[in-house]
């Protein structure tokens, strides 16, 4: 078994604890995953649609947040529209035995928005360390890529940066509607 396969198995085991949502939480997720209703009392509106008390909706969302099911509640900016037009997925081929150490160093850089170890797909794809870099200009991104390169140079066998050319879709997660409850109608912010 390769190191990657072992790690994958480990990840699967870590995730095997029962994390499934109770039916009410599931309906709450289904109803709010496209956004909160745009009115002055969004949680009350959601509560009415689920036939719950407003306090229970707030309490359930808080518990989902504590469990990490809700990462955050907030405004999701369209980064292109805000001027962050340039994003590069930088990918690096580093030795498996150093990936954790290097990944943590990369992740600690303030301009890296996500960083992951992912499996290689040889021969097409030799890279195992991914780090996403955003900027308002190509020069800004290139400057950040240069900093990453400096950090990884000694250990990195090859690397690339893949600029995005277009956003083709950006909807976020959508779980399928399981409940047939007619009150659990779509309530989109947009």
């Amino acid at each position: 078994m390769s190191l990657n396969e072992q790690k994958n198995q480990q990840l699967n085991q870590d995730q095997s604890a029962d994390q499934s949502l109770d039916p009410t939480d599931r309906r709450l997720v289904e109803l709010t995953q496209k956004g909160l209703p745009l009115d002055l009392h969004p949680y009350r509106t959601v509560a009415e649609q689920l036939e719950l008390e407003e306090a229970e909706v707030i309490d359930r969302l808080q518990r989902l947040m504590d469990r990490g099911v809700v990462r955050r509640i907030g405004l999701v900016p369209n980064h292109y529209k805000l001027g962050y037009r340039y994003n590069a997925m930088t990918v690096w081929d580093v030795p498996d035995e150093k990936i954790t150490e290097l990944g943590e160093q990369v992740g600690a850089l303030p301009f890296v928005s996500h960083s992951y170890e992912r499996p290689r797909a040889l021969p097409l794809w030799p890279y195992n360390l991914f780090a996403m870099v955003h900027g308002r200009s190509e020069a800004e991104v290139e400057e950040k890529v240069a900093q990453l390169k400096q950090l990884l140079e000694a250990d990195c066998r090859q690397h690339q940066r893949l600029y995005s050319r277009r956003i083709l879709k950006k909807t976020g997660m959508r779980i399928k509607q399981r409940s047939n409850n007619s009150t659990a109608k779509d309530s989109t912010a947009k």
């Binding site: 994958n8 699967n12 995730q15 029962d18 994390q19 949502l21 709010t32 995953q33 956004g35 909160l36 745009l38 002055l40 009392h41 969004p42 949680y43 009350r44 407003e54 707030i58 969302l61 099911v69 809700v70 990462r71 509640i73 907030g74 405004l75 999701v76 900016p77 369209n78 529209k81 805000l82 001027g83 037009r85 340039y86 943590e104 992740g107 600690a108 890296v112 928005s113 996500h114 960083s115 992951y116 170890e117 992912r118 499996p119 097409l124 794809w125 955003h134 893949l162 995005s164 277009r166 956003i167 083709l168 879709k169 950006k170 976020g172 997660m173 779980i175 399928k176 912010a189 947009k190």
Partner: protein, 171 residues
């Protein structure tokens, strides 16, 4: 091979969206965007709470958010869920799409609810998307369906370790 590596990035980037006109954002809009990418209040009167901090009425907070959504500065507003904390998984997946089929394949891939985002990138693997599935089996199933529907082999790159995730954009 995609022939996309010699393109003019600035032109492409400009085509990604309408020209950003940040001058239409006043100080309060900026403060809203900067301060509430997370931490939108979880209480009965969230807009009143925000309004009290920004010195405006609750109604104005709501109408500003509506305007920011309509003008495209915000793409969404509400809870962001982590399917992994529900026992599911996100899987970055790539495809090598022949340029002459790019639009058609984009439509096929985007038609899957499980595709949360999708980007065109400059590489032989020129389409990169994230699958959000409720289980490993669900992911396998969707990968197979994608392959069948498009005729193109998807390469899944599931995460083995996460080092950091903290995306935010200040204006």
């Amino acid at each position: 091979m995609s022939g996309s590596s010699n393109t003019n990035r600035a032109a492409d980037a400009a085509a990604l969206s309408a020209e950003a006109d940040l001058s239409s954002l006043d100080a309060i809009d900026r403060q809203l965007i900067n301060d509430y990418q997370s931490g939108f209040p979880l209480c009965a009167d969230p807009y009143a709470e925000i309004g009290a901090r920004l010195g405006i009425e609750a109604e104005e907070v709501l109408s500003r958010i509506e305007t920011l959504l309509d003008s495209g500065f915000l793409s969404r507003f509400g809870p962001l869920f982590d399917i992994e904390a529900m026992g599911g998984e996100f899987t970055l997946t790539a495809m090598e799409v022949p340029l002459e089929r790019y639009d058609e394949v984009t439509e096929i891939v985007n038609s899957f609810d499980e595709v949360a985002h999708n980007y065109e990138r400059e590489h032989q693997l020129n389409m990169w998307f994230v699958l959000a599935c409720e289980s490993r089996e669900h992911t396998e199933e969707v990968l197979e369906q994608l392959h069948k529907a498009s005729g193109i082999k998807p390469y899944p790159f599931p995460k083995l370790q996460e080092f950091f995730i903290g995306l935010r954009f200040d204006v």
